[in-house]
Subunit: 395 residues, 2 copies
């Protein structure tokens, strides 16, 4: 009656969604205050005031068709002009409005970029474990092969010795994601430099570029005064996928962009193919009102200090109890080593204590769990008793 | 450097977009008031007041995460409950929240439904000419075959004698679109009854259902007190694709839904496959704020009377000049027979008079042009001199 592939994809929901749904049901039974839901990355810090102000201003000063009508498929030109100016001022990016394609968020940015880049079912897309689990689904949509680079569990940067053997003549692109979901780590300038050197060498060797797709929804959620690095400065064949879901706490409003700088080899062809991919999947245009909202909020973010406080509370709390945690430099995830080899079993034991944490098997990193700390700080404090009980089982 | 298929799709823009872009450029040269742009279906009637009121109310009374956070992939349950109640009260539909999947507009509804239904590259999807040209692109995205039923140029209903021979054992679905873009015609109850009888017979003959995908963005834009007919009442294996783009003048905000009633054969499998298709293409969820806006505006529409006045002005004006026009009963398009066999040549002659009308070749109906009348009424009146000059060339 229906496509088997789509049916399977729609039937088996993700581990994250399952836990989240369980949490909602459990809350009804034991009380919301007794469920410690660290499962999902739904920003809890409110959107910054500029969002409400911009919407109200647009509603009061613009004609209906201006804010609710179609924009061109790549997006409102005034929005893309503003975005180019912002990127040039902030990162000295040297980009123009025509390099941007406004999208319905990061997932759309990725499916469109991948569909634009993949030429044949022999093409390979490399994921660096740990990686956001939906990448697998997005690659499947293009018909290309997913190739997983095992995690560097020492520093959660990139295992270059292994990567060298993972790139083949069929490699089209490598997806990177820094700050990283789920590990919370941030790539260093050294990592980018080494990655660029290797990809440049391999591109030369195989006679065609190996592209970077840089998925950057957590770009501005970064701590300890670490610098935000502009990836195309390290490697020119970089396509950036951005979303305002996390930086402006607008995940439900579906707004982001793809940036294809002129320096990218075949930039014009790739940009046109992105237009084709958007058309083919039925995206039409990115939400008009929210295109204009993000223009009005350029350079603004939600209050990252709240996440930073959560980070320190959770990281220090768990370290003190004896958990082995990856030091989180960005995003809002703490990556914790499971005290037993099977993180799914560990996560089930946590669940019995109403502590909802996600086993990282689907992120390509068995033996770890992801603890999402975009939550109420109170809940973190209240969860410590359960976290203590959990680790006591291993003492 | 890029996918050839996507590159081609992104490079050759549609005839409509080309004309629209030409109009914008021409306006800069000869003055906006001297260009008569009937090319595009961008609603000019403002969104009804409930839209602004609902947004302001949501901004002032709801927490940020409630209106800007993720909803579940199929959509906010309170929105879908409200929608089910509305459809039950209005059409006696007998549906539940679980039958609805909120989408990013009609195009997304269609790409997701098609991807969910198509099982193999041998599958065939039937389009009834004239049809919205992007259907071709959406079918291509699934890998299925497009099969075109030639137009019934007498009544612009369905040529059933021809349709009987067009349906094969490979037919998965037939897309219908009433009120129709581009012809402006509306299917009668008799047409639905005959279509249902034929599809029921063919489904029995081939041992599997031939589904209707009913694309209904113009559902409420209907004139002369014609009734709005609920297609599943005629044929149970109907999946409805809806969008608020036209009824609430919100095309840029990308909000609509798919309805899979329980009576549809394999409803559960199809619904799950729709979830899979949305996930696969990266839709994540329909825009949260606008899900809640359409809930607040259930049963409301933009002022259709404006389109009705335009319709009468344009239809009568052109008839009086000697144009052969299809009587428009819905949507906001007038379908006009080209006075010469090649409508592209006719459309070029119109363009020389700064009159922008779309040749219907890409709609599967050569020899006709589409005149979109969701425009300023003044422009219609001012355009008459040019329309008169144009037809005088054929006298």
């Amino acid at each position: 009656m229906a496509s088997k592939e789509m049916f399977e994809l729609g039937s088996k929901s993700s581990a994250i969604r399952d836990l989240f749904d369980y949490g909602q049901k459990q809350a009804a039974i034991v009380g919301k205050e007794n469920v410690f839901d660290f499962s999902i990355g739904n920003p809890t810090v409110p959107a910054p005031p500029c969002v409400k102000e911009a919407i109200e201003d647009l509603l009061n000063t613009r004609a209906s068709v201006e804010i609710h009508g179609y924009t061109s498929a790549p997006g409102d030109i005034s929005v893309r002009n503003g975005l180019a100016d912002f990127m040039n001022t902030t990162y000295n990016a040297g980009v123009r409005a025509e390099n941007f394609y406004m999208t319905c968020g990061a997932a759309a940015s990725l499916t469109m970029s991948l569909k634009a880049l993949v030429e044949s079912p022999e093409d390979e897309i490399i994921l660096i474990a740990p990686f956001f689990s939906e990448y697998t689904v997005f690659i499947q949509n293009t018909g290309a092969k997913r190739v997983v680079l095992p995690p560097d569990t020492t520093h959660f940067q990139i295992d270059f010795a292994a990567l060298e053997h993972t790139i083949t003549p069929h490699t089209r692109a490598i997806i990177i994601n820094s700050p990283n979901n789920p590990s919370g780590t941030v790539y260093t300038a050294d990592t980018y430099t080494r990655l660029a050197a290797l990809l440049t060498q391999k591109s030369k060797e195989y006679g065609h570029p190996v592209y970077i797709i840089s998925d950057e929804p957590y770009r501005e959620i970064i701590y300890d005064d670490m610098p935000i690095l502009y990836v195309p400065k390290f490697y020119k064949d970089t396509v950036i996928c951005y979303s305002y879901s996390k930086s402006l706490s607008l995940p439900g409003d579906r707004i982001g962009y793809i940036l294809v700088p002129d320096e990218v080899e075949g930039a014009k062809e790739i940009y046109a193919a992105i237009c084709g991919a958007g058309r083919s999947m039925g995206f039409v245009c990115a939400p008009n009102l929210f295109q204009k909202v993000v223009l009005a909020c350029l350079g603004k973010t939600s209050d990252v200090a709240v996440y930073d406080a959560n980070r320190q509370l959770l990281y220090n709390g768990l370290k003190d109890m004896g958990y082995e945690c990856v030091y989180p430099s960005g995003a809002f995830y703490l990556f914790v080593k499971s005290p037993e080899p099977d993180a799914k079993v560990f996560s089930e034991k946590a669940k019995a204590l109403n502590l909802l944490i996600v086993p990282a098997d689907d992120f390509g990193c068995p033996g770890y769990v992801r603890v999402s700390y975009c939550v109420d700080p109170d809940m973190i404090t209240r969860s410590f008793t359960a976290f203590q009980k959990l680790i006591d089982q291993y003492k």
